[in-house]
Symmetry: C2
Subunit: 354 residues, 2 copies
């Protein structure tokens, strides 16, 4: 009795683990590369330079450096992979149009069709309305203004080519100085029915988009109603907490989705997880600051995205901190103190460590 | 008021994050490289070939391939690092003797003196006796025979240059067909006083050895007494479970110790963690088997050490599986089923997934 769950036929020629190529050398690719190590796959990065965040940690044999990342460079990179994916959705149409015809043996995940839908919805929201979803504004880029009208939430769903899907807990996103800096999971004080509704929207929309990958929907909660803000089909900041706070991180789940692997348990491993992003300050010596944070809070999980001091610039993202625990206010305080200290933020750094 | 916890002086020249070099291209280096990504340090590997397990995931800029790893090759590799460490303790004396004189600017961690003590104790046990410890046998390599006389335990301690130390829960090690295959943490049915005694022995011995790094002591428990079996001063298999079962993995803790960084919380995140190693079977297509395991047990954490089918050989280690949870027997069963299926082990693979 042979079915999908039977062991592989010993007579069949062995399948190589797939080689995955990811276009973009930033921190999202870096964190995806870290997750890929456990899966035993080949992982290649198309970065601009050897010092790019992801190139610092990607295997040399597969790394390719494309100074201006032309269409031809990406096509040549794709040809060496079984699966191709992107760090960001804003793939130029010229490239999207050529990928499938010119590299037919390569699986493009998410597909160009899905990437176009995500991009077009991000521009107009028309498609979302046609699917019957409430849309937060005329465009999608909700921006700081929208936050005043409600809470910004995010929900992610991973979906396989066959339509299997898993969702993550709804995450609250908070801004400081206009920029999204803090992510709290699960979103506090969220009506459980609304949380379920958010997950239902994510699953439905992923199916409508025929997504293979990880879809993150940004939602605005206002007056007990949810409306869709923005969409993302690549790893999203609202999933950073899952690296230390979920049984299977969103980065690994993203890999499983685009490689058509069964999903891992997405559940949270603590009552609360809070991630705060770290922005570079005037002091580029983040590493020494990291040492002080380690000494002050042995449970704070710090992730630094570069080993190049020259890349630590004021206002630029250089890492994130995640803290998990039972007492939400304590967890938030610890995450902010660590992030502020690392980045010479708004609080007086001489006050930390306490 | 300036003290060690004050923020760095903005006038001081920024410190680069250190570049760590690790000699050896096997799975221990691979897992250490994965942990190093979060720390934002430079990480270089001295491997024999680009296809070595660790070289597959190490940054190309720093990877060095030394075909026969001569003393000169290692010295040249060391000269490009701020800190040098080893995947295994069995560093040739010729190399140990030359490292400090010829690369005085490089911190060798653990130190050659400590590595010699560990190696010599492993050979004779005399040093251990002189420190006042009970030693399991005339030599140290406890071997399968010793297991008949008692339970094999392991305890790890990370120790900083200034003597700060953290210990991990005591782990029970079980053999199958003479080989250590299963690691259970915390060791079940261990008298809490003996567990504390094991941790005390580890802390004391690490101090006696003036260790900077991670020391793992293998112990034999027999008749309510503990005696020391073997020692390891590099990442040890008894710490594999910490990757998915502890707040800070032993691999990250090892990095923190040798880089003189404050330690992370070592605590277990679940009531029980069980790791079973995966040995290659007749079928080299481990990746397809991995897919089936993912489908059958979405909570099993599988780590595969290679993306090269040619490296999947019968009886050779190719990965490990960790399962955590409340019910120890269930956790053990899940870990063994996954490991056996992946490796075409002793159980009938057609019975899995259930």
């Amino acid at each position: 009795m042979k079915d999908e769950n039977s062991p592989p036929d010993p007579g069949a020629s062995p399948l190589l683990p797939p080689v995955l190529g990811m276009v973009g050398g930033g921190y999202r690719t870096r964190l995806t590369a870290q997750a890929a190590i456990s899966l035993g796959i080949g992982f290649r990065v198309l970065a601009d330079a050897p010092d790019d965040s992801a190139a610092q940690v990607a295997p040399g044999v597969g790394s390719v450096f494309g100074g201006n990342r032309s269409t031809d460079e990406v096509l040549a990179f794709a040809a060496g992979c079984e699966v191709l994916t992107f760090e960001r959705e804003d793939v130029p149409e010229e490239l999207l149009g050529k990928l499938e015809p010119q590299t037919p043996q390569v699986a493009i995940r998410p597909s160009p069709a899905t990437l176009r839908l995500v991009r077009d919805n991000a521009a107009r929201g028309d498609g979302l309305r046609s699917f019957g979803f409430a849309v937060a504004g005329p465009g999608v880029a909700a921006g700081p203004g929208v936050a005043a009208g409600g809470r910004e939430l995010a929900v992610s769903v991973a979906r396989s080519p066959e339509g299997q899907g898993v969702t993550y807990p709804v995450t609250l996103m908070l801004r400081r100085d206009g920029e999204r800096r803090e992510f709290i999971a699960p979103a506090p004080d969220l009506d459980p029915d609304l949380a379920l509704e958010a997950q239902r929207i994510a699953l439905k929309l992923a199916a409508e988009l025929r997504l293979t990958g990880l879809l993150t929907i940004e939602l605005v909660e206002s007056g007990g109603q949810l409306s869709i803000g923005d969409l993302a089909a690549t790893p999203h900041d609202s999933g950073l907490w899952t690296m230390d706070g979920a049984a299977t991180s969103a980065f690994e789940q993203y890999l499983r989705a685009i490689l058509d692997l069964p999903f891992g348990t997405p559940g949270a491993v603590a009552a609360n997880a809070v991630t705060v992003t770290v922005l570079g300050g005037d002091d580029p010596d983040v590493f020494t600051r990291f040492v002080h944070v380690m000494a002050a809070d042995s449970g704070a999980r710090v992730h630094i995205y570069t080993n190049q001091v020259s890349q630590i610039r004021p206002g630029c993202r250089v890492g994130h901190v995640t803290v998990t625990g039972d007492d939400l206010e304590q967890v938030r305080d610890r995450a902010w103190r660590a992030a502020n200290y690392l980045g010479l933020g708004t609080e007086d750094p001489t006050e930390y460590p306490a």
